[in-house]
């Protein structure tokens, strides 16, 4: 449980500290709301934590039709952005679905992606919004579509020393995120369904969380939804197709059969939420 803490002041220093550490020896510390729990439970035992708290990434910028979310911006700051509820309703709901206010004062989007939980409430909506992730690492910066970063539960394709610097999503997009939980408030979602509608074809992006080791998009469902305003039949077909994207997991939170039911129901509702003015 013992570890030392380094608090670098620049991204370059942070990358160097991480890259120089023996593999598994160092972990990047963003908000810590997930990593510290894993350390307490003995699931990981890094000897060194590299704090990202002093890096200049607690930012939120709009530029050229994009919203650029700094990796270490507390989720609460994103949630309190006055334009977010209207411009990106799905993202707004997803952010508010994460933990409590006090937790969101420390939790970050970079941390949420890097820790890549199967039941993350953020990953489905970020996938539906076709988020891109800006990374910095020993061999310089690069930008990746989010799916290329996600590898497995708590696993990403980052190279040693590489850090998430920012997440880029469209500044505005009709979208919705719906979840189901045993306890409506402050719980882990059994299923999360995110949808977002683009201006031009392909119109729809649909993603699921809580049902697989890694949240992912449903391209077969997206293919069915070929109109910006799909009718009841297309919505129903999409819902049925989504339920067919099984196998989903069975775990202590829900059985696969129930998750299928939820996926279809929540997708129907999410599509209606976005299409009905």
């Amino acid at each position: 449980m013992a570890f030392s803490l380094a608090v670098p002041r620049s991204p370059a220093e942070a990358v160097r500290l991480l890259a120089d550490a023996p593999p598994g020896g160092a972990e990047a510390l963003a908000g810590g709301t997930d990593l510290l729990l894993d350390i307490d439970a003995g699931r990981v035992a890094p000897s060194r934590l590299i704090s990202l708290g002093r890096l200049p990434w607690r930012t939120l910028r709009r530029s050229g039709g994009d919203l650029v979310i700094g990796a270490t911006l507390p989720l609460r700051d994103l949630e309190r952005d006055p334009r977010l509820p209207r411009d990106l309703p799905g993202l707004y709901r997803a952010v508010r679905a994460v933990g409590s206010v006090a937790l969101r004062h420390r939790a970050t989007m970079g941390g949420n992606i890097a820790r890549s939980s199967p039941s993350s409430d953020l990953l489905p909506i970020l996938l539906a919004l076709e988020a891109r992730v800006r990374l910095v690492g020993p061999s310089g910066p690069r930008e990746l579509p989010l799916p290329e970063l996600l590898k497995g539960p708590r696993e990403t394709t980052r190279v040693p020393g590489e850090l998430i610097a920012a997440i880029v999503v469209p500044a505005r997009r009709p979208s919705a995120y719906l979840w189901q939980r045993v306890r409506p408030s402050n719980d882990i979602s059994q299923v999360g369904v995110a949808v977002a509608r683009r201006e031009r074809p392909p119109y729809w992006r649909v993603a699921l969380g809580g049902v697989w080791p890694v949240p992912a998009r449903l391209s077969s469902v997206e293919a069915i939804l070929d109109s910006p305003d799909p009718g009841d039949i297309a919505v129903e077909l999409a819902a049925q197709e989504a339920a067919r994207c099984a196998p989903f997991v069975t775990d202590k939170r829900a059985t696969e059969a129930y998750r299928r039911r939820l996926v279809a129901t929540l997708l129907r509702r999410a599509l209606r939420e976005v299409t009905v003015p």
């Binding site: 449980m1 189901q180 306890r183 402050n186 039911r261 939820l262 129901t265």
Partner: protein, 730 residues
């Protein structure tokens, strides 16, 4: 306003978790790695060698450390041969810091030879216990009672309703983990601890460790939630053994994970219930209960004979058979949690009532009113029911239902459920009241645990007896060496039982003052921060009526005691086992409206109203806050809370992430209605109010779901997935 509130909102009271002493060590528990197994070896050599570790105690060390060679052999603190549940402590460690103690505990190697474990009570008796049941080594308690001609009732029935219900285990989730500080001082064993019952901790700890009870001194700290989980010893004997071994004060606090694993959860149960109906009357009922007792020792089961009476419901039924088994499994021992298992029993009995009403085409209220006990009725165990407000509560709830139906504020179904409870006036206690210049002091061993029963309830009793204002009365807490004996703050008994002792002490004291003043009676007055004695309209100082010794002491101390009557059972009805005789029947009725998502099965409570027979409300605001708290806890039992036991004694959700108690947003508007006029044995007719409020809540929610959807969920809690299954969505 509660007198403890100003300090509590400033964070200025000391709980068990906050206790500290100079030179204090921290304790940690070493858990058994299997649910059931033979201990082959406990290798603590690495732990012993770690810097900062001051004591390591295993079961083998107890013989050396304790005067009577290891303490009580039956309740041996640390096992040497066999472990009977996963995480059962097999060794304890004290170290300079909590981190070192835990690291050392993790470094102890416990080698066991695994034995087959029993996880599921239904696997033990797949076809229900037959003739072999009572003698089975897995059965720790068997109770059986019968009266009336059950066969005839079922043979002549127009309708028989047979159902099976299942309930899940519920965890305590007091926000404060169990925590204490133990030390050895001048040959005395001192324990400061977060407890509901200091005297029970004293006797438990002395018995388990084989120490003289008079040498064990227990002082209660403030308590961060009790609910039954802190009504007997848990961490205290372990901490004391470490203090004996190390010669230093030792703090031992459970981690929150350990709270779930060791902190006295209730466990699952299965109930079969059959009723016969003739011309709208329930003529017979057969109840069979299988209760998971966990690693409960034989003879120590308290739940089965207590709870099973609730399964027949507060109803007149001609012929009733009750049979219950407590079945031993390799889980931690069954614990008492707010009205232990009564809410689960009411869920079964009251869901069953609604099933009968539906099948027979009778309104649920009419069915209940037609059968509800009145004063003078006899229970299935032959007890006579005293003043009982059930019918009054039901009638008020019925009017409320009509009002709800008319106002259209909710969209969901409406369910009703009844519950009854017994104020624990049988458990005895004593009080000392000091008449001092600055007012009356109630001398107590038990801290206020949060319910208000001590800090408001006992004080309200004194207020009623004397007419004094609250400022004239205070509670002084003492350790078990100086405080009068009392059983503890549990069982909704504090006001009902201990309150009687307080009342007697105050009346006796006033009688003493009157005798000294040579008048038939005195009144007390409080003026200018001082207590005055009023005799025949004349105000005189208290001091003038004190003896020189009392004057030197500063007060007149008067004792009162209440060792209450237990109820009596009709022996001819008891076939086997120990049933609990209830005292002071109280009634509670809950009306709940709940909307059901027909596509996901999610249940959203829209409003809850409760009608509670309290005898007399000594402090209506405190009654209300107990009702609100009980309702919310009941909503957790109804909808979200369950311990998920998987295989080999594993708990899948030992934390707040997947064990979900209600949060603020989960609680709908609550109405509380106090029903008076049916006095109990407590002071001025008061009945206990700590537990009754929770009892009907899960059933009322389930019945609201039934009303909304026509589907009955027969398993607690009503998670969205269970409701979805009942709705045949999957």
């Amino acid at each position: 306003m509660r007198t403890d509130a100003p300090a509590k909102v400033r964070g200025r009271v000391e709980y068990g978790m906050d206790l500290e002493a100079p030179g204090m060590l921290w304790g940690a528990l070493v858990p058994a790695p299997v649910a059931h197994g033979r201990i082959v070896a406990i290798d603590a050599s690495v732990a012993r060698g770690m810097a900062g570790v001051r004591a390591v105690v295993t079961g083998a060390d107890l013989d050396r450390l304790l005067p009577k060679g290891g303490g009580d052999p039956e309740r041996r603190l640390l096992p040497t041969e066999e472990v009977t549940y996963r995480h059962q402590p097999v060794a304890v460690i004290a170290a300079d810091s909590r981190a070192v103690a835990r690291a050392a505990a993790a470094a102890v190697r416990v080698a066991t030879e695994a034995l087959p474990s029993v996880d599921d009570i239904e696997e033990v008796f797949p076809d229900w216990p037959g003739a072999e049941g009572p003698g089975s080594p897995q059965v720790v308690a068997h109770v059986h009672a019968l009266h009336g001609d059950l066969d005839a009732a079922f043979a002549s029935a127009e309708l028989v309703v047979s159902q099976t219900f299942r309930t899940s285990g519920v965890a305590q989730v007091a926000l404060e983990p169990h925590a204490c500080l133990a030390s050895v001082e001048d040959g005395s064993y001192r324990i400061r601890t977060s407890t509901q019952a200091p005297f029970a901790v004293r006797s438990d700890t002395a018995e388990i460790l084989g120490l003289a009870e008079s040498r064990v001194v227990v002082e209660g700290s403030w308590v961060g939630g009790g609910f039954g989980g802190k009504a007997s010893s848990l961490v205290e004997p372990y901490a004391l053994v470490l203090a004996i071994a190390s010669g230093r004060p030792v703090k031992l606090a459970l981690t929150y994970r350990e709270e779930f694993l060791l902190g006295r959860s209730t466990l699952p149960a299965v109930v079969r219930i059959d009723s016969s109906l003739l011309k709208g009357t329930i003529t017979g009922r057969r109840v069979r209960l299988l209760l998971d007792a966990g690693a409960m020792l034989p003879g120590r089961d308290f739940a089965t004979g207590y709870a099973i009476g609730f399964l027949a419901g507060p109803y007149r039924i001609e012929a009733v058979e009750l049979e219950g088994y407590a079945v031993r499994t390799h889980k931690p021992p069954f614990g008492a949690h707010r009205a232990p298992f009564a809410a689960q029993c009411a869920f079964v009995a009251e869901s069953h009532m609604d099933a009968i009403a539906r099948r027979a085409g009778i309104d649920p209220f009419d069915l209940r009113l037609a059968h509800a006990w009145r004063e003078g009725d006899t229970t299935p165990l032959g007890q006579r029911v005293g003043p009982f407000g059930l019918r009054e509560a039901l009638e008020r709830a019925h009017r409320q239902r009509e009002a709800w139906r008319a106002d259209g504020h909710g969209s969901g179904g409406i369910g009703v459920a009844c519950g009854f409870w017994s104020t624990g006036t049988g458990a005895g206690g004593e009080a000392i009241v000091e008449f001092a210049r600055d007012g009356l002091h109630i001398i107590e061993g038990e801290r206020e645990i949060g319910s208000g029963s001590v800090i408001r309830g006992l004080v309200a009793v004194v207020e009623r007896v004397t007419g004094l204002p609250p400022a004239a009365v205070r509670v002084d807490y003492r350790d078990t060496r100086s405080a009068p004996f009392d059983s503890g703050v549990f069982g909704s008994r504090t006001v009902g039982a201990l309150g009687q002792a307080v009342e007697k002490a105050v009346r006796k004291g006033m009688g003493t003052l009157a005798a000294r003043a040579k008048v038939p009676e005195v009144r007390l007055a409080f003026d200018g921060g001082e207590l005055w004695v009023v005799t025949r309209g004349h105000k005189r100082s208290l001091t003038s009526l004190l003896t020189p010794a009392e004057r030197a002491l500063g007060h007149l101390a008067i004792g009162g005691r209440h060792y209450g009557r237990s109820g009596t059972l009709e022996e001819s009805r008891v076939r086997e086992g120990e049933f609990y005789a209830y005292t002071d029947f109280t009634a509670s009725v809950v009306l709940a409206q709940a909307a059901v998502d027909r596509e996901t099965g999610a249940v959203r409570p829209e409003r809850v109203a409760e009608f509670l027979d309290v005898g007399v409300a000594l402090d209506p605001e405190m009654v209300r806050t107990q009702m609100e708290g009980g309702i919310a806890m009941g909503l957790g039992t109804a909808l979200t809370e369950e311990t998920l036991w998987t295989s080999a004694g594993r708990l899948a959700n030992p934390g707040l992430l997947d064990y979900r108690i209600p949060t603020l947003g989960d609680i709908p508007p609550i109405e509380t209605v106090i029903v008076e006029g049916f006095p109990g044995a407590g002071p001025f007719g008061a009945k206990g109010v700590g537990e009754p409020p929770i009892i009907p809540v899960p059933a009322a929610i389930a019945n609201a779901v039934l009303d909304a959807t026509g589907a009955q969920v027969t398993e607690l809690p009503l998670t969205p997935e269970r409701v979805a299954r009942a709705l045949k969505l999957l």
